[in-house]
């Protein structure tokens, strides 16, 4: 049982992401970065305060996502 757990850890936790997984996470990171920047900048342009609040909400959520994605990508070694 212990051995199985060890194998599981080696296969699923310790191992690097496959290349295509890293690519997808990287693309998500880029998308989130652009969204976050755009939403922050455009807040200075909108008139409607509710829309501005929603844009700020998006910025906060994107910050969280970017941190998570960076953490995930930090697990892998660059090849």
């Amino acid at each position: 049982m212990v051995k199985l757990e060890k194998i599981y850890k080696e296969v699923y936790v310790v191992q690097d992401f496959a290349l295509h997984e890293t690519m997808e996470l990287h693309e998500l990171l880029n998308f989130k970065t652009v969204c976050m920047t755009t939403s922050k900048m455009i807040q200075g342009v909108v008139f409607d305060q509710e829309l501005k609040a929603l844009l700020e909400k998006d910025v906060q959520q994107s910050m969280q996502s970017v941190n998570v994605l960076q953490g995930l990508l930090g697990k892998t070694q660059p090849h």
Partner: protein
């Protein structure tokens, strides 16, 4: 702010080239906000699709959980944006003819703006930034 009831419809006459004249800016706030909101909505939609597509490519359990969380958050945000747009009268999912009318008008307004010489002259403002090596 009481522009919400007449968003894009406020622009009836052809847009004047004199964009610095204050009376030509009638209806501008609604036009700007509805355009930005539409952009926001489309980006949220792309975000949902990107997350879903990424999810089909990822096997790692931890990464899957995180991307799935992102997908759910993105879906909720998309719902909030479309609700706001419906409330403001920028988005009519149940009245297609109204939506078409609105979209035609904003396309027309966008064409008129695209035709303007908004930024004539040199827009490099490097002198005003700390860029001694340029």
């Amino acid at each position: 702010m009481n522009y919400e009831k007449k968003p894009i419809n406020a622009i009836k006459k052809p847009m004047s080239n004199d964009y610095l004249e204050i009376e030509n800016s009638d209806g501008m706030p609604g036009l700007v906000d509805s355009t930005i909101a539409l952009n926001f909505l489309l980006t949220a939609k792309s975000g949902i699709r990107n997350c879903a597509v990424a999810l089909t490519e990822i096997a790692d359990p931890e990464a899957r959980t995180e991307v799935r969380k992102m997908l759910n958050v993105a879906i909720d945000l998309h719902a909030e944006i479309s609700n706001l747009m419906m409330k403001k009268g920028w988005f009519h999912p149940y009245q297609v003819s109204e939506q078409f009318k609105l979209d035609k008008m904003s396309a027309q307004a966008a064409l008129q703006i695209a035709n303007m010489q908004l930024f004539p002259g040199d827009t490099s403002r490097l002198g005003t930034f700390a860029t001694p090596n340029y």
